[in-house]
């Protein structure tokens, strides 16, 4: 039986993080796990690297004492928000790390972090061309057919077919 005041998270390579449960009260995944399988020793967080999980836990620790209402999951993207100055670490983050944080936030179901990373990604994407966007986020790992499909999709938007 694990300590209810703390929770142990295990990353994809076996690294463990033991943090107070109160830090993760905004994580829907953790809350569901505590309700259903809280008697287990540790919670496995697959597909999340230790570095990213450490960053996520830092975010949760910073916002642990926030009194604002937790956002619905998924967060409503139609409502603009102002980034907290305490989250400036995400602004200088490299693009690929920001992508991993976005995915980790989605895995852990933390809508506040999803909103923050999506906002940062949107600000970086805005004004870029498709090639630049691909270059930002691990272009070497893109499948070939994805790159091939780009031209086709581009033609759909560019080709004026009224006269054909």
């Amino acid at each position: 039986m694990s300590d209810p005041a703390n929770i142990t998270l295990v990353t994809m390579d076996g690294t463990t993080f033991t943090v107070p449960s109160a830090y993760l009260h905004r994580s829907k995944l953790v809350q569901d796990w505590l309700r259903s399988e809280g008697d287990k020793q540790a919670m496995e967080v697959k597909h999340v690297t230790p570095f990213v999980l450490q960053g996520v836990l830092n975010f949760c620790e910073i916002h642990a004492e926030d009194t604002s209402e937790p956002l619905a999951d998924p967060a409503d993207p139609t409502k603009p928000f102002e980034a907290d100055p305490r989250d400036d670490a995400f602004r200088g983050m490299p693009d690929d790390q920001l992508l991993q944080f976005t995915m980790a936030a989605d895995i852990l179901q933390i809508p506040e972090l999803v909103r923050l990373t999506a906002q940062e990604m949107a600000s970086r994407i805005d004004g870029k061309s498709p090639d630049q966007i691909r270059a930002m986020f691990n272009p070497d790992d893109l499948a070939e057919e994805d790159v091939d499909s780009d031209n086709e999709m581009g033609e759909v938007g560019e080709e004026g077919a009224i006269s054909k």
Binding site: P77, L99, G160
Partner: protein
């Protein structure tokens, strides 16, 4: 290592919706979405749902690009399981009515567009739209929920038929200014408008019975849309030939025999008051629909009509008009030439005088350009005596706007439209004097008018107070508490700047962006 294609679709949608906050306007947002749709296949699938859901169409170039993308996408081979047209839910092509097509073509001197110019129908000049293009678009967009077309003379009964037939999920249909452009100018017949209204009633599935023939030729115009080559589309774009009069069910009914079940939820924003309520067919139709307890058609007059001020020699300042069932019934009785004025007991003398003037000064109105009635005062009385609905509508008007009564083909109940008073100096003096005399003026938005109606129904014995509209008033109207007297000068309608097209507001600078590209 994660890639952009590893992001789940929900996060992609969240990301693309967040782009709206980063982009300064909707057109830039659309542009950003288009770029995102070209990043990868997964991004395309996610971004297209947002890109095509409510496309922004500000220029005719946008319109042609959207139409081209949707039509081209429907041609085989199509690798996707969906078509782009199916993603379109809300379409607002109202801004295209004032687009000068030739300027647009010159601005975008793209060699690929040469064929567009060659096939550009002349009828599209001044409207930016063609009937065939609208038909084609509706055919390609079966999931369309909202369609807004403004002042498009190409909206004939056939086009309306096609819209309602091809878009079964349509809930909002905006057609202001589409039918009366020529009728009011000529002052003659309203055949086009009647046809269009009847086509709506015929084509919509809420019609259950339609006895009697309609002696009109088929309004469908020949296709102006260039038919693509057979090798590309296998004839998929060909406009279907019009059915014969014997086969087409829409010709087997008269407009006075509309039987509409009450489950309809289609709201039709059809026409300005001077064109729709003057039509006895329309009045009967609206009356029956409202009597059935259904949500009534809302007749809308928007500020765009001011742009046609040079045509009408008026400046309509209507914003929104709601038709109520009892008003329509009264209007229907008034529209009959032989029927007496059906004013219930207890009406004020002013309302009686108004009707008397309206009935006797039609000829005078023809020559003088309209008999002006102080609508604020009139509406105050009409709403107080709620059964004596002189105009049959509850209307929001800008202050200092008067209304004229003209015979525009519909009898006494005929045209009512806004006329900005010419003598503004006199108006200022009158306004101050009237404000001091009456202390009341009805110039509230429709939402406030509704609350006022409910107040009238609840307190029919005592006339409430009105608040005079300020230049930038609040949207609330408290009938129980009289507002403070207007401060700072007369409440004139906002002066319109001269433009190259004549009297009217200066049009906004045309956007140079293509549709998302």
């Amino acid at each position: 290592m994660a890639t952009i294609n590893d992001l789940p679709t929900e996060i992609l949608l969240h990301l693309f919706q967040t782009l709206a906050h980063v982009s300064p306007n909707r057109l830039d947002y659309q542009h950003a979405l288009n770029i995102c749709s070209r990043v990868s296949r997964r991004w395309h699938a996610a971004a297209s749902t947002l890109l095509y859901a409510s496309p922004v169409l500000k220029t005719h170039w946008n319109w042609r690009r959207l139409l081209g993308a949707i039509v081209w996408d429907a041609q085989p081979p199509c690798r996707r399981a969906y078509t782009l047209g199916a993603l379109v839910c809300n379409l607002d092509i109202s801004r295209l009515w004032n687009v000068d097509i030739m300027d647009d073509v010159v601005e975008h001197d793209d060699p690929r567009d040469a064929a567009h110019r060659q096939t550009l129908p002349l009828s599209a000049l001044g409207t930016g739209l063609t009937a065939a293009s609208i038909e084609t678009l509706c055919r390609r967009c079966p999931n369309l929920r909202s369609l807004s077309v403004h002042s498009c003379a190409q909206i004939s009964a056939g086009v309306l038929d096609a819209i309602l037939r091809e878009c079964p999920f349509l809930t909002v249909l905006w057609l202001p200014g589409c039918f009366d452009r020529t009728t009011l100018r000529s002052g003659a017949t309203r055949v086009d408008h009647d046809d269009a209204k009847c086509a709506f009633c015929r084509a919509h599935p809420i019609i259950t019975r339609a006895p009697g023939p309609l002696d009109r030729p088929h309004p469908r115009s020949p296709s102006l849309f260039p038919s693509p080559s057979p090798s590309r589309n296998d004839g998929a774009l060909a406009i279907r030939p019009p059915p014969s009069r014997q086969q087409h069910p829409s010709f087997a009914m008269t407009p006075s025999a509309f039987i509409v079940p009450p489950q309809s939820n289609l709201r039709v924003f059809v026409e300005s008051i001077d064109a729709s309520l003057t039509n006895p067919y329309v009045v009967r139709f609206i009356g029956r629909e409202s009597a059935a307890g259904r949500r009534i058609c809302r007749v809308s007059l928007d500020r765009q009509r001011r742009r046609k001020a040079d045509e009408y020699a008026t400046r309509a300042m209507f914003k929104e008009v709601a038709v109520r069932s009892e008003m329509v019934r009264l209007a229907e009785s008034i529209a009959k030439p032989a029927s007496p004025l059906m004013l219930p007991a207890g009406d004020s003398q002013l309302a009686r005088d108004f009707f008397a003037k309206a009935t006797t000064s039609v000829a005078q109105a023809r020559t003088r350009g309209g008999m002006t009635i102080r609508i604020g005062e009139l509406v105050a009385h009409v709403m107080y005596h709620r059964k004596s609905i002189a105009f049959g509508v509850v209307m929001w008007i800008a202050p200092r706007v008067e209304f004229g009564v003209r015979d525009v083909g519909g009898g006494v109940w005929g045209g009512v439209w806004g006329v900005v008073e010419a003598e503004r100096e006199e108006e200022e003096a009158n306004g101050r004097r009237e404000a001091a005399e009456y202390g009341t003026y009805v110039s509230a938005p429709f939402s406030a008018s509704k609350s006022y109606i409910s107040h009238i129904n609840a307190h029919a014995s005592s006339p409430p107070h009105f608040s005079r509209r300020r230049p930038r008033p609040s949207r609330t109207l408290n009938p129980h508490q009289p507002p403070p007297p207007p401060a700072g000068g007369p409440l004139l309608a906002r002066p319109l700047k001269p433009s190259a097209r004549g009297i009217g507001p200066v049009p906004p600078p045309r956007a140079r962006r293509w549709l998302g590209g």
